[in-house]
Amino acid sequence: MPISLAIDYHVGTTFRCLDSGFDWVVAVEQGGLPMRSIRLAGTTLVSTICWLGIAASCCNLAQSEENSAAEPKAVSFESDIQPLLKEKCGKCHGPNVQKSELALHTAAMIQKGGESGAVIIAGNSAESRLFEMVKQGEMPPDQQGTLTGAELELIRRWIDDGASFGKGSADPAREITQHDVVPILLLRCTICHGRHKQEGGLDLRNRESMIRGGKSGPAFVLGKPEESLMVKRIHAEEMPPHPRLTEVSVKPMDPEETKTLARWIELGAPIAQEEPDLAATANDPLVRPQDREFWSFQPPRASPIPQVAEAFRNQDSNRLHTPVDAFVAQKLFEKGLTFSNPAERLVLLRRVSFDLTGLPPTPSEAQEFLQDAAPDAYERVVDRLLASPRYGERWGRHWLDVAGYSDCEGRREQHLPRPFAWRYRDYVIRSLNVDKPYDRFLLEQIAGDELADYEHATTVTQELEDNLVATAFLRLAPDPTWANLTGFVPDRLEVTADSIDVLGSGIMGLTFKCARCHTHKFDPIPQRDYYRLVALFKGAYDEHDWLKPQLKNYGGALSAGMGERFLSQVTSAERQKWEEHQASIQRQLDALNAQPKTPELDKQIQSLESQKQPEPRIMALWDRGEPSPTYMYRRGNYATPGSLVSPGVPAVLSNPDKRFEIASPRPGATSTGRRLAFAHWLVDPEQPLTARVMVNRIWKYHFGQGIVHSLGNFGKMGDRPTHPELLDQLAIDFIRRGWSMKSLHRQLVVSTTYRQESLVSEKTKTIDSANWLLSRMPLQRLDAEELRDTILMVADELNDTCGGPAEPVRVRGDGLVLTGLRRSIYVEQLRKHPPSLLESFDLPAMNPNCLQRTDSLVPTQALHLWNDEAIRQLARQLADRALRDVERQKETAGAGSADTQQIEQVYRIVLGRVPDPNELTTCVESLAQLKAGWRNQPKAAGDASPNEATRRALATLCHTILNSAEFLYID
């Protein structure tokens, strides 16, 4: 007789432990015997033994089945099942701890199920999740607890026999309440019978308004579904009306949903009074006190600055500049290492200029620094760079990566433009340039709309505008919902999820998105906590009351009663300027219109009309009040709503003694105040992650890798800090210095650690090969923007205009995407058309954001720099610039041939130094050959004059240097 269970494990089946920290696979071969086992990715699990366990249990099963056929005996819940579940599952699914919201200690709790719904389906063990989990050995998670074949069989029989709970425990099945019905009505009906529209005078948002009904009478008759108007209309398929479904992005009622509604009416429309779910209660069954013990959930702790051992001090005492150095030196010392030599001055200048402004030093800046013998010369350079407007452009770009900035919506063929997104980009740059405290920066971006009363403000100041513009941070996720077909509830939920993902990974350093479908597998983030966050955002992101991105030429509201998604609160000054402009055009138009019509006049009128400007507006996110209730979505599926949750913050990050309170931001405000409360909580100095995550990010951009390497994951699956005390100290200092980013930069770049050279010695290569100990500075490739901006700058072509609408890109027929001359941060960011040069050097696609760029090395980079006509043209301009410079300095120039002087000037401009003798010899020789080469090519040179040959030869040399490793890599 074939073993019944073994059918599930037929040939070729692989078992795997889904999403666990380790991953194991057993391949089943002919005959049901494990022919081989494959061990993966560092697991120590002995999969073969495990499989044998299963195989053995199959055999046992067959045995016991035969036995049971001979001697049937009913399984008792009380004496067989309950004790078994208590022993095997009680630790995590009992009265105190309820992982995945599942408790198995009472009949009622088992019947209630967990966050993914029912775990037992009476009479059907194959469909019962509890049985599936234990059968496959996924539960209990520790292998010692794995159920024996006999135990498995006991559970299977109990379920298949009807899962009887015996006497006394059989609670009546949970009855249908409003919580089963409201989600259905929100999904299918309230778009036309809800807050904004009551077609036929009907509002279906709650029981009272349903009973009150509309023009045709009450929506239902209590206890009589068949006589109830709404049930009749749904049965007749008149509601929701089929032809209008797409227009309002609604799907028809599912027959099961209609049944639920009818049953609720039949029962008399019962209302369940559920206690509201409150965040941060002391005894949270979902998050245990020990879960908070993980390092990143503890507030940063100050540690004494290490007293580096005597030997090290003697050797290097004068180099322990800052506390940063003491922490780094400590670890180096423990491994028998010391700091590398200080970098040469010009190398350091180039490094710090790129780091703080994204551009190299000019030849005169380099000259000045070399000649400045004062002890604080370097510190003054740092201050100059931090004060430069270029600083905000450089660090603004880093922030835009985190935020996921784009000038279009995305996820559709026609990428809808975001005509006002640039205001957010400028806000970021402005904020960084004035060193806006990071806590304030976050408050504005998360809840700027709730910080001040913009609705009733008579004058709009720059500050007020900034508050609103800042909230575009939460509008940057790719959003296809402007189109009807990609505007359904699940599409909207994607947008919300992306925004929460940006916030969670980018700012809080945790992978919250995992908890959208189930309790986080590794971090103590129950699914409930994800939906608490969703509820926090519901005032603005309500999938049942959605503002669609606005089509460009749509002045007014879109279909389905959905309102405007731009605000008009630009500064009063800007508005006034615009009004005056429009008025002046209008005056001229009025004057012309008064004259008799001529073709000439028509032309003038047309030309004036085209000078009118669209009304200036703001892309923003704001709380609209009265959000719909938030139900958890089982397995992330909107069609299977679970329990109701209230707005709240993740339990593991909250102080259980400090209640999270939400208050209206102002008396009489429309806004719920939810996001403002959240933002204040997030920037509370006690918050363990906010400061750490940002400090770590800034560290990464200076030192090449974070103290925690996984910038967006400080959880269990993320990396541990290489220097935990240092990270904490930096976080504490950051907060103490008023969350000032500039003072953090200063603290880092003046350190000895930062001033080291990048040479790898035999010793550091052996002991610190990946540079985790910071025994040197890394050799770093220029990123996409640094590369493009620098090429423009050295060719003297960079347009340094700040701010304003983006500079458009041009897409050539062959697909090459070309840019203008402004800094890359001001180049239009279109998801479909990333500028080719930037793209090949790893400009990220924003889906929804980018936490860490890749540093690739691919031939397309070489092809672009070597062959692209725009780069070649810039090389010619660079050569002409060098020639002009040499000509100008003729009187002051020292000895040396013209060739030498030209080569030296190219080196000064591009690399910030003069060539060493070997390089000079090579270049002089090569330049002479190139000149001769060009002279021999009269046809190619167009003009065979010696001057033209010189220009061309020098341009070729410049082009070579732009392709050289030294240009691309910073020491």
């Binding site: 999403d19 993966l40 996984s710 998801r831 090395l857 092809l863 190139l930």
Partner: protein, 487 residues
């Protein structure tokens, strides 16, 4: 998981393997190291993602893939899935039964029979309509799947899904995963080549071959079938050869001096390597695209020279030349979405057939003649299927009708590379609205393709922000064993 102290191991050495294992951001995940033999690790000079060929844990049936992507959603009941019941119920209302599944509700018409005639073809007796007379002659080499289904009726998300198994952009596509898993047999050409239509990009543009969070080296490289095949493969105007030689020489000397002063920096060597590959590509890519090396009969076999088939025929022939030269994954696109026949089924869809039928049949024959079909997996299909009801044209003229999108059933086929020959797999209901027998999900389809290439969909992954990302996602996917020649 790595503790801070782990980097201070006893012998104070961090091997290259550790280095890979600890890269968390997807730049070069450790995913494959366990699968790899010494070949990859022989490349110890480079710590950057590369395209060296890798060994698979199990024997591969196919070495390379030609994916003939039919964007728009070809109509199953007009090509490969005859529905006599549609003839019987032609003109009957059906809309209310499928209201939630219709994109353009205002134009929804009644059930509509196919304007094409079906017949059983070849020795295997596979049903093919008269819209594809040439492919019909090759059926004994095909495995036809009639029961593919997807989960979205809108082009953009459905395209993302079929290419990357996610309904949103930003995830690596099938071709990227394959080249990530297998590397390339050619070090002179990109591993993953896209031959798009000179008439324009498909919907979703370059996102159809994006590498998502995998390093860009695994992204599809567009080869144009005329002019310069790769962006910036050549400068707009070539410098004289002597100048080029001098310039290369100067660059080489400067880079060597730079590298000499910086020992122990593998990236510098790797970067020099990219310039060398770029130079090799200039020659190889041009050579691979030079169709004048092919005989007249071969060109005619692909329909080259005939106005209707010339363009697609060229791309099919280039595809063969590329896989001959070791390219791993070649993907062919047609402009816009010629298979999106909302109207004019009898005319517009026939035109799409006419453009592709002969070239594809030619490709199959040619591969077979050259003994390449066994090691090449040819895939044909679109992003979804179409509805059994008519979609009426604006003037409601039934003769101009087409069909709207359908996610519940679509057909696709495989040829060569380890699949059975002359097999028809799966079935739809009597009207062709939904797949009912041996249903094949998109992740199943992906898993099967990976399997044929010797890859296991559950083992091919990268760690990405705390999640083990795979092409097939977290939901289980199954290899369709019934279509494999050796199961």
């Amino acid at each position: 998981m790595r503790d801070a102290d782990q980097f201070t191991t006893q012998n104070h050495t961090i091997t290259r393997r550790d280095f890979f294992s600890d890269m968390r951001t997807g730049i070069c995940g450790a995913a494959l190291l366990h699968l790899l033999g010494d070949e990859l690790r022989a490349d110890s000079s480079s710590e950057v993602p590369n395209l060296l060929p890798r060994r698979t844990s199990r024997p591969a049936q196919a070495k390379s893939v030609i994916h003939l992507f039919m964007n728009g959603g070809p109509s199953q009941m007009d090509l490969f899935d005859p529905k006599p019941e549609l003839d019987k119920h032609h003109g009957e209302a059906y809309f209310d039964k499928i209201a939630g599944e219709v994109e353009n509700v205002k134009d929804a018409g009644a059930l509509m029979r196919s304007p094409f005639k079906f017949a059983q073809r070849g020795e295997c007796g596979m049903w093919v309509s008269d819209a594809l007379p040439q492919i019909a002659k090759q059926v004994d080499d095909l495995t036809l799947i009639r029961s593919l289904y997807t989960t979205n009726i809108t082009h953009e998300p459905a395209l993302y899904l079929i290419q990357s198994n996610r309904m949103v952009s930003g995830y690596p596509t099938l071709g990227s995963w394959v080249t990530y898993g297998l590397g390339s047999e050619s070090q002179n050409l990109p591993a993953y080549v896209v031959l798009d239509d000179p008439l324009g990009l498909p919907i979703n543009g370059v996102e159809n071959w994006h590498s998502g969070f995998l390093p860009p080296i695994y992204q599809g490289t567009r080869f144009r079938s005329t002019g310069s095949p790769v962006l910036n493969l050549r400068p707009e105007s070539d410098d004289p050869p002597e100048i080029i030689r001098l310039q290369r020489d100067l660059l080489h000397r400067l880079d060597q001096m730079h590298k000499g002063r910086r020992p122990g920096q593998p990236n510098l060597e790797a970067r020099i390597g990219t310039y060398e590959l770029a130079a090799r590509m200039q020659l190889s890519a041009s050579e691979a695209l030079d169709l004048s090396q092919e005989t007249q009969p071969t060109q005619e076999q692909y329909g080259i020279g005939q106005p209707t088939t010339d363009s697609y025929g060229r791309r099919c022939l280039i595809a063969r030349r590329l896989i001959e030269r070791g390219v791993r994954f070649v993907q062919l696109f047609i402009n816009a979405q010629i298979w999106d026949n909302h109207t004019g089924l009898a005319t517009d869809m026939k035109a799409a057939c006419d453009r592709t039928d002969l070239p594809i049949a030619g490709l199959l024959q040619d591969l077979k003649q050259r003994g390449l079909l066994d090691e090449t997996l040819v895939i044909w299909g679109g992003e979804f299927g179409r509805l059994p009801i008519a979609q009426l044209s604006a003037d409601k003229d039934e003769r101009k009708s087409g069909r709207d999108h359908n996610k519940n059933a679509a057909c696709c086929w495989f040829a060569g590379g380890g699949v059975k020959r002359g097999l028809t797999y799966g079935a739809t209901d009597e009207l062709g609205f939904t797949a009912v027998e041996n249903r094949v999900s998109v992740p199943d389809w992906h898993a099967t393709i990976l399997h044929l290439l010797g890859l296991n969909h559950d083992e091919l992954y990268v760690d990405q922000h705390g999640l083990r990302e795979k092409l097939t996602g977290v939901q289980p996917a199954k290899v369709i064993r019934d279509i494999l020649r050796s199961a």
